[in-house]
């Protein structure tokens, strides 16, 4: 049971990253894979600053800003230098590997006995329940804020940008600036996941971001498949379904591991799950 409880908590931890992918891929229609790098960046900044004794609120701010800057870099390379967004993402992600390594100074940094957000925000004496409360509260807060943002006038322009750029320009908005803002937001959310998971697992690792973009993609796809089922276009539901997708994905992984699968095959299984979800959603859309 602990095993599945951990998977659920991890799912909540990855929710911000899943929502980041939702923003870049679904709202802006940009396949952004800076994610692997910005997730690790958020984690690495968190580990280094927490062990140096900085206040957690400040750690959060720096980690999220780091992610936003990474997204901005990808956006600027894509727009100013006219590089394909996928390639721009790969470039930044690759560069971030060195950046992350030099920030951390080593490939792995344990948090040891330094207090994390789970220690400084103690709602109950039971550490596991406390983790649940914090993860749930943060996830709901992000979902609420994101839904609100996407429903504002600015958010409507964001959503229109991924769908009909010509119309957005004719309606008086700079689509370039919009896309930069979107990529910054997406990667800030991703870095936030890194911030949370490093504190949850108690260490940062230079390889913690490998393949993370795929799991985010899977979460968005699962969420969408469920959205088709419920036939809804309400933003709040979409956002919640992405979170549901993150949790479901972790549960599926936990389940396959519990069958006795060699952990070396974890990424292979991840890829196969994503492929399966892709096929199912393709099949569904072609039937419709």
């Amino acid at each position: 049971m602990d095993f599945y409880s951990a998977a659920l908590l991890q799912g909540l931890g990855y929710a911000a990253m899943g929502l980041g992918i939702y923003i870049s891929l679904r709202i802006f229609n940009i396949p952004d894979i800076t994610t692997d790098g910005s997730f690790t960046l958020g984690g690495v900044i968190t580990a280094v600053l927490i062990t140096s004794g900085l206040a957690n609120g400040l750690v959060f701010t720096v980690a999220v800003t780091g992610g936003a800057l990474a997204g901005l870099a990808t956006g600027l390379i894509h727009m100013r230098l006219k590089v394909n967004p996928l390639l721009a993402g790969i470039l930044v992600m690759t560069a971030l590997y060195s950046v992350n390594l030099s920030i951390m100074g080593r490939s792995n940094l344990p948090l040891m006995n330094t207090p994390t957000i789970f220690d400084s925000l103690a709602f109950t004496s039971d550490p596991l329940i406390n983790k649940w409360i914090i993860f749930l509260a943060i996830t709901l807060l992000i979902c609420g804020m994101l839904t609100w943002l996407l429903k504002t006038d600015y958010g409507i322009v964001m959503r229109a940008t991924g769908n009909n750029e010509q119309m957005v320009r004719a309606a008086g908005s700079n689509t370039g600036t919009m896309k930069l803002a979107g990529l910054a937001l997406a990667n800030a959310l991703t870095a936030m996941s890194g911030y949370l998971l490093v504190q949850y697992q108690g260490f940062a690792d230079i390889n913690m971001g490998i393949g993370i973009v795929i799991s985010g993609l899977a979460a968005v796809m699962i969420g969408e498949a469920l959205g088709h089922l419920f036939k809804t276009h309400k933003i709040l539901y979409h956002v919640l379904l992405v979170v549901g997708g993150c949790i479901l994905f972790r549960l599926i992984l936990a389940f396959t591991l519990s069958l006795g699968l060699n952990p070396n095959y974890l990424k292979l299984v991840t890829a196969l799950i994503v492929l399966f979800v892709l096929m199912v959603t393709r099949f569904k859309t072609s039937v419709r």
């Binding site: 609100w148 943002l149 429903k151 504002t152 006038d153 600015y154 409507i156 322009v157 959503r159 229109a160 991924g162 769908n163 009909n164 010509q166 119309m167 957005v168 320009r169 004719a170 309606a171 008086g172 908005s173 700079n174 689509t175 276009h233």
Partner: protein, 248 residues
């Protein structure tokens, strides 16, 4: 008043295949004028529309709106003055947003896009009333996705959206050309009604002679990048489709 002074625009400049799309265009549009720009394919009428909207920047010349120089302003900055309806009936709206959200987008065209919830109950009933005037039965579907509507319905809504915010100039790029004959007539009549009711300065680009004869207060005929005729319509001069065909 909108003024174009000595506008030149060439494509493939300096190459053998150079095309002089606009050759020394001088035009003035008075407030409230409904101008039909008529011309064959390749006459430069679309380029004229594009230099006005900012999709294309001219090589030479000056464009002013109420004496503000907009010649080099990017497209999204001119939208403050210019409202547009495209030829593609799907281009003027966003499929994945609801009808209401599309109207919200149009209602803030000339305004800053703020972090506020603008689709209030008051806004919703305003939109519903406007849509009800179309008699298409769409007023109860404001929460439906735009993508679920037909091209004709979307173009009708695009026309309404064009006047949701102040506009010094309305540009219509053959808004009915991609629609079936019946819908096409409905759309043109709606455009005419909206222009009249809002006393808009409007430019309609078309190669449809019937529309050119039927609508507008002035006809500008273009050929090979130049203006070959510029006629005010009134009781004494009201060219019909046949005489327009002879001008061509």
């Amino acid at each position: 008043m909108i003024e174009l002074q000595s506008i030149h625009k060439s494509f493939h400049r300096g190459e053998a295949a150079e095309v002089r799309a606009l050759n020394n265009i001088n035009l003035q549009f008075k407030k409230g004028e409904f101008v039909i720009v008529l011309g064959a394919n390749g006459s430069g009428k679309s380029t004229l529309l594009n230099v006005l909207s900012g999709t294309t920047l001219p090589d030479e010349g000056k464009i002013t709106i109420d004496s503000t120089d907009i010649t080099m302003l990017p497209e999204f900055r001119r939208s403050k003055w210019i409202s547009r309806v495209f030829q593609n009936p799907l281009a003027g709206t966003v499929s994945e947003l609801t009808i209401l959200e599309n109207f919200r987008l149009a209602a803030i065209r000339a305004h800053p896009k703020k972090l506020i919830l603008g689709s209030t109950g008051r806004f919703r009933s305003l939109v519903r009333d406007k849509i009800a005037g179309l008699n298409l039965g769409l007023e109860n579907k404001v929460e439906a996705l735009m993508g679920t509507l037909s091209g004709g319905q979307r173009q009708a809504l695009t026309l309404l959206m064009a006047v949701m915010d102040d506009a010094a100039l309305l540009l219509l790029d053959e808004p009915a050309a991609a629609l079936d004959p019946k819908t096409s007539v409905t759309i043109m009549q709606l455009a005419e009604k909206i222009i009249r009711e809002h006393q808009l300065t409007a430019i309609l680009v078309t190669h449809n002679l019937k529309d050119a004869a039927m609508y507008g207060s002035r006809i500008v005929l273009m050929s090979e990048g130049s203006i070959t005729k510029d006629v005010l319509k009134n009781e004494t001069s009201h060219p019909d489709a046949v005489s327009l065909f002879e001008w061509f």
